[in-house]
């Protein structure tokens, strides 16, 4: 039973990783590709690592895998935010289906000016 749960989680995680990388090819612009790269990939990693921890059934292995899971949960959104903000400020072509709220646009561009003044001044 333990093996069955571990196997299911590993296979589900690997499938999600595959879905994420298919998304990297199929989605139209950078921001939607980032959606594919962060969400399914993170869930896939969490499922795989949980399955591995169950399969190994070892406390020290579980602790290391738990640390990686927590680390991924903390860094994936931060990394995606950094890349997304930098690219949006630098200007990139958006798919016609991607819409940006005015307030978000203003906030991102306004921030950009302040940052630019600081770094150049």
């Amino acid at each position: 039973m333990i093996d069955f749960i571990a196997a299911t989680m590993m296979l589900a995680g690997a499938s999600l990783a595959l879905i994420a990388s298919i998304g990297l090819h199929r989605l139209p612009d950078l921001f939607s590709r980032m959606h594919a790269a962060t969400k399914p990939a993170t869930l896939g990693l969490v499922l795989t690592l949980t399955g591995v921890a169950i399969a190994l059934g070892d406390l020290s292995a579980g602790a290391k895998l738990g640390a990686v899971i927590i680390f991924q949960f903390v860094t994936a959104p931060i990394g995606a935010h950094l890349i997304g903000r930098a690219v949006y400020r630098a200007g990139t072509e958006l798919s016609p289906n991607t819409s940006v709220a005015e307030s978000v646009d203003a906030a991102l561009r306004g921030d950009s000016q302040v940052d630019g003044d600081e770094s150049r001044g």
Partner: protein
């Protein structure tokens, strides 16, 4: 468990191949770093599954380091794009 890990590693290898294709294909710096980030996540999953296959947990230390380095790389490229623009 050997069959399961073989299937899982096959799925992960296909995913890694697709990421690699995205990485090499013509695209902006941002496209490439997003693909590289995904590739690292897949690599971490792959090493974990491989350690189940070998029944040995010495590989797990690699995971912690790889996860850390992936984030540092992403943050660095974000800084680069902020300064030089995407291309």
């Amino acid at each position: 468990m050997a069959l399961i890990t073989t299937i899982a590693l096959g799925l992960l290898a296909t995913a890694a191949g697709l990421c690699l294709a995205r990485l090499v294909r013509k695209g902006s710096v941002a496209d490439r770093i997003v693909a590289l980030d995904t590739l690292l996540v897949i690599l971490v999953s792959g090493i974990a599954v491989f350690s189940v296959r070998r029944g040995d947990d010495v590989y797990l230390d690699v995971l912690v380091v790889t996860a850390l380095l992936g984030f540092v790389g992403t943050a660095t490229v974000a800084q680069y794009i902020d300064k030089r623009g995407t291309r």
